[in-house]
């Protein structure tokens, strides 16, 4: 309604010449371009149990090996923020539902919360999801896996330790010997 009224007012103002619409333009200027929120998540997406499961499973998707894994790279924080503020609310649904399903399965199979299960049990839970052995399993797995991969390989650890960060190559060599490198370039 407000927008319609404003449009109408501007239309009227335009008919009477430019000076009249000065205050209206000022009002419109308040509609500044959006700023992308980079603070703490504005809403809690997960219950404490869901969150613990999410953290544990992220580390199973990209575990600590000779380089740090998902937890050290801050992937859980990234997922918290992304699902709270950098994605549409409906994108939380399959993730939250999948974490609940994994937790229920863990309780059923292992009589323990997924977050406290052994890594072998956690891997078995993720495999069950991947193979769609419970409702919504594969959909959850694909989406959750992608969140972890994106979060990890855009993190500082992912870009500078797991991969080689090359901010200023300074030159281009289109026949560079593959044998000269140990890591792929992150950028």
């Amino acid at each position: 309604m407000i927008i319609d009224r404003r449009s109408a007012l501007i239309g009227v103002a335009a008919m009477f010449g430019s000076n009249l619409f000065t205050p209206i333009a000022r009002a419109a200027a308040r509609d500044a371009q959006p700023i992308i929120d980079t603070g703490k998540p504005s809403v809690p997406v997960f219950t404490p149990v869901q969150h613990a499961t999410m953290v544990a499973l992220s580390e199973r998707v990209i575990p600590t090996t000779d380089t740090p894994g998902a937890i050290a790279a801050g992937v859980p924080d990234y997922i918290d923020k992304l699902l709270a503020d950098w994605s549409l609310p409906e994108e939380r649904i399959p993730i939250v539902a999948g974490l609940d399903a994994v937790e229920a399965r863990s309780k059923g199979d292992y009589k323990i919360s997924a977050a406290r299960a052994t890594v072998a049990q956690q891997d078995a839970l993720l495999t069950a999801a991947m193979e769609d052995r419970f409702t919504g399993g594969a959909d959850f797995f694909d989406k959750f896996r992608q969140l972890v991969i994106t979060g990890y390989y855009t993190s500082e650890i992912g870009m500078t330790q797991e991969r080689e960060y090359l901010p200023v190559p300074a030159e281009y060599d289109g026949a560079f010997l593959y044998s000269k490198i140990n890591k792929v370039y992150s950028a």
Binding site: I10, T22, P34, S87, M159, T160, V168, V184
Partner: protein, 561 residues
């Protein structure tokens, strides 16, 4: 009259054309006021995210979908990231209109420098035939100029801005004054040899880019560092932008005044004298309306932006622009058609990878309907392809240590390319002022009625078929192609709407980019184009602008004397 004006000339817009207009006119001794609707971005210090890795960008670089949906629902068809969002128009604040089924994607900038900060940087001369085809084929109207008229201005611009590329001696794609080209990689060289051998007359050549490959110390510009982050703003000044190149030149004369956040709404006009008498603008920050005067006006507000300003310059109560005596204003709007992609795998050469990231790779120039021949393919004109070969990082399935380890490898070489096709100028591809809707500054919204036609769609079908044929013929495997919905505006190569012509009864501008209806008004951006060719147009806008500025300054001095 000159003595009563603070400025000799007003330049509206600060993109590739406006920046050059300001540089040329100030260097020729004129006091210039440059107005731009966007906010100020200074070279280097204004590039907030230059050199920043993903983990230092808001939302890791991806614009959140709700922000796209609310404010960047058109800009998203450009190349938006949170690292360059400040350079893109807010579509909610600055709307436009089109009818159902007539979608047009008007992808606009938001900052001083215009699209020069975010452009693709591919820089080509048009060929002699590009200026002659309309006449030969009886399409729309003849260009009032020929390649030879523009050639010295191409040279002038190229030497100044720096264009990298390879000399090819192709009559249908004239060479520029080149800096050394960006190298081809081993896979592209392999492909070039096989494609050119198996398809006589077709070429695969180096990209032609406004990214410099040699330093320009006189302009404080350092050659390309192969970061491929151009659209964040380049503090090395390695690609042409107003900020890096023309604005410093204009400022160094001491004769430039730059006013940002100045949204030009319309031009005042003296019908008796046939001259523009004032430029009206609204300060986007304060809402204050202003009128400024100068003896000379260069309108460089972008193809569609300039047409909108021209259309909104009209007598009270009239729908007819002062500058539309011909009835052609707003007509013959064009954009390249380009949603065809072809890709495939290049076998072998596994021992090599790329070091560094080029901002542009390779080009397959037009080969259809060349210079007066008819290939009998069911359409006029032609298309070219921009593409390149890369080795993407492997994408294994599964999870865990084995997946992490498998992601430490590069896959084999992949080549992909996209076609850019020429769109013909159609009289009924037009824009007009909306009869009732206005924007926040009181300017009627621009309404698009532009669509691609049979000629363009047939051309894209051929580009897809020939693209697959060439990649297969060159020995690539797993060749696939795709074609998305073709929506005008998408290529961000919009042109026309105030075309050049010899006859004031059928064109808006004369051969000097000067309005038939106002001797002190020049329109030197894409609006002046009478056809679209199939190559990227910005270099031609710059050449036309310098040529027009030379003409205008000579006239200015003659008038003042």
């Amino acid at each position: 009259m000159a003595s009563t004006n603070r400025f000799d000339a007003i330049v509206i817009g600060s993109g590739v054309s406006g920046g050059f207009a300001a540089k040329e006119l100030t260097e020729k001794g004129l006091k210039v006021l440059m107005l731009d609707r966007g906010h100020m971005v200074e070279h280097q210090e204004g590039y907030t995210y230059d050199g920043k890795p993903a983990f230092e960008l808001p939302a890791r670089g991806t614009v959140p979908p709700q922000v796209v949906a609310s404010d960047y629902f058109i800009a998203k068809y450009g190349y938006v990231s949170t690292s360059n969002l400040q350079f893109y128009n807010d579509d909610r604040l600055n709307p436009y209109a089109f009818d159902e089924g007539k979608e047009f994607r008007w992808i606009r900038p938001a900052a001083v420098g215009g699209k020069s900060l975010i452009w693709g940087r591919w820089s080509f001369r048009w060929s002699p035939d590009d200026f002659e085809a309309n006449k030969r084929e009886g399409v729309a109207s003849d260009w009032p100029i020929r390649y030879e008229d523009l050639a010295p201005w191409y040279s002038y611009v190229e030497k100044y801005i720096g264009v990298s590329g390879s000399r090819e001696n192709l009559p249908y794609l004239p060479d520029s004054e080149f800096m050394p080209p960006m190298p081809m990689n081993v896979a592209e060289k392999w492909m070039k040899g096989r494609l050119e051998a198996n398809f006589p007359g077709r070429k695969l050549i180096h990209a032609r880019l406004s990214n410099i490959t040699e330093d320009k110390p006189d302009q404080n510009r350092t050659k390309c560092q192969f970061r491929n982050q151009c659209s964040n703003g380049c503090s090395f000044g390695a690609y042409f932008s107003t900020q890096a190149v023309t604005l410093p030149a204009a400022r160094s004369t001491g004769r430039l005044t730059l006013q940002s956040n100045a949204v030009v709404t319309n031009l005042d006009y003296d019908p008796a004298a046939k001259r523009v008498t004032g430029v009206r603008y609204v300060d986007a920050k304060t809402g204050q309306a202003q009128t400024v005067q100068a003896n000379l006006v260069f309108l460089c507000a972008s193809t569609i932006g300039s047409v909108q300003i021209l259309m909104n310059s009209r007598p009270s109560g009239s729908e007819r622009s002062y500058f539309d005596t011909s009835g052609t204003l707003g007509r013959y709007v064009m954009d390249h058609i380009f949603r065809v992609n072809v890709s495939g795998d290049i076998p072998g050469m596994d021992e090599y990878i790329e070091y560094g990231r080029r901002p542009g790779q390779v080009y397959i120039p037009r080969f259809r309907n060349m210079a007066g021949t008819d290939d009998r393919v069911g359409f006029k004109r032609g298309y070219g392809y921009q593409g390149g070969a890369h080795r993407p990082v492997a994408e294994p399935v599964g999870f865990g240590a084995s997946m992490k380890n498998a992601m430490r490898r590069y896959d084999g070489w992949k080549f992909s390319m996209g076609a850019f096709g020429e769109c013909l100028p159609y009289e009924d591809n037009r824009v007009s002022l909306h009869p009732s809707k206005v924007d926040r500054f009181g300017v009627p919204l621009l309404r698009f009625d532009v669509s691609f036609r049979d000629n363009e769609l047939k051309m894209m079908a051929d580009a897809r078929e020939q693209g697959e044929k060439m990649l297969r013929g060159a020995g690539l495997t797993n060749v696939t192609s795709s074609e998305e919905k073709h929506v005008p505006g998408d290529a961000i190569h919009e042109m026309g709407g105030a075309r050049m012509g010899r006859d004031p009864r059928s064109s808006v501008l004369n051969s000097w980019s000067q309005a038939h209806d106002a001797s002190n008004l020049y329109v030197t951006d894409g609006a002046q184009m009478a056809s679209a060719a199939c190559v990227n147009p910005s270099l031609t806008f710059m050449a036309l602008t310098t040529r027009a500025a030379d003409h205008a300054a000579r006239n200015f001095r003659a008038t003042a004397a």
